[in-house]
Amino acid sequence: MDMFLDVLVAVLLITGCLMSLIAGIGLLTFPDMLTRMHAATKPQVLGFLLIFTAVAIHLRSWSVVPLLFLAWGMQLLTAPVSAHMIGRAGYRTKHAVKGSLYDDELRQVVDTVTKKQAVETPEVPAEQSKDSTS
């Protein structure tokens, strides 16, 4: 049984670290910022889950489970928010190169809003930002 658990821990650790390596490779190989976001933030969700499971199994104690769960839950709650903020900032400020997009259904909306902002009262941008950050 101990042997089995040790092998399980080893497999979990290696797969978890592999997820980090994939994030690194993705950062290097993907063509633009928005695509890189996928590589950077997402494999980590799975990677952390595997690594934390490995830690809990290896320490053979239930008392660390709430804290590990908290760390993972924190990751689950915060990762999408920061991904959304970075992605939105990149999209709106033209930091992101859009050459690799097949289709873009948001461009038209953003263009209309930007034009409106140029012409109309300053209330429009405030309302828009309130809409979109929710």
Binding site: I22, T29, P31, L70, P80, Y91, S132
Partner: protein, 210 residues
């Protein structure tokens, strides 16, 4: 869309236009999930779930909630534990599958990867469900939310590996499938009935054909 609840829509537009800066305080009844979460965080950080520590956690949580008020989160009042569990398991499975898909793309496709931005109008009207769907989509590799239009519940998503119109439709279907699952787990009665009506008797099976 005629199926959407107009009362919610008006409320939302009021929220968006409200520049007075005054926030409605949430009542204790609305805030108990937040309180429970804060108490759990407190106890987990101390690694001590004894009653004394929990009581002190309650005090700290109350102080935090009073000092830093948040706008109230309106819950739908319906929760189905079984569908929540199913959603969680399905979510973990999706994360597994999609992580390896992104890995394959990173290693074998690299610079040639194409992606797309799609707009999906959700059926729901509640902020909570839009947020939950957006969160789930962002956590599942292959898609993340760039922007949200709160008035029409439209999510603008960046999807990886989009090379044709069929891919876009497939992505849209996937989003609506996630929304169906979230509504079945925590949506209101009306929305649940609407989903049941839409999907027919095979509720709970994968796919949800229309």
């Amino acid at each position: 869309m005629p199926t959407k609840n107009m009362k919610h829509r008006d409320q939302r537009i009021d929220d968006a236009l409200d520049t007075s800066g005054v926030r409605h305080r949430a009542t204790l009844k609305q805030e108990w999930p937040l309180l429970a979460l804060l108490i759990f965080v407190w106890a987990a950080l101390w690694q001590d779930f004894s009653p004394a520590n929990l009581i002190f956690g309650v005090i700290v949580a109350l102080i935090i909630v009073t000092l830093f008020p948040l706008p109230p989160v309106v819950l739908s009042g319906r929760i189905n534990i079984w569908f929540c569990f199913e959603l969680f398991i399905w979510f973990i499975g999706q994360v597994f599958a999609a992580s390896f898909q992104v890995a394959g793309l990173a290693i074998f496709r690299g610079k040639k990867t194409r992606s797309g931005v799609i707009a999906v109008e959700l059926r729901t009207d509640s902020d909570l469900i839009v947020t939950a769907v957006g969160h789930a989509l962002t956590l599942i590799p292959g898609s993340f939310v760039i922007d949200v239009d709160r008035r029409s519940s439209t999510l603008y998503l960046h999807y990886i590996n989009i090379e044709s119109q069929t891919d876009m439709e497939r992505a849209r279907e996937a989003v609506r499938d996630i929304e169906r699952r979230v509504i079945m787990a925590i949506g209101s009665h009306d929305e649940f009935e609407a989903i049941k009506h839409e999907c027919g008797p095979i509720l709970g099976r994968v796919g949800g054909k229309k």
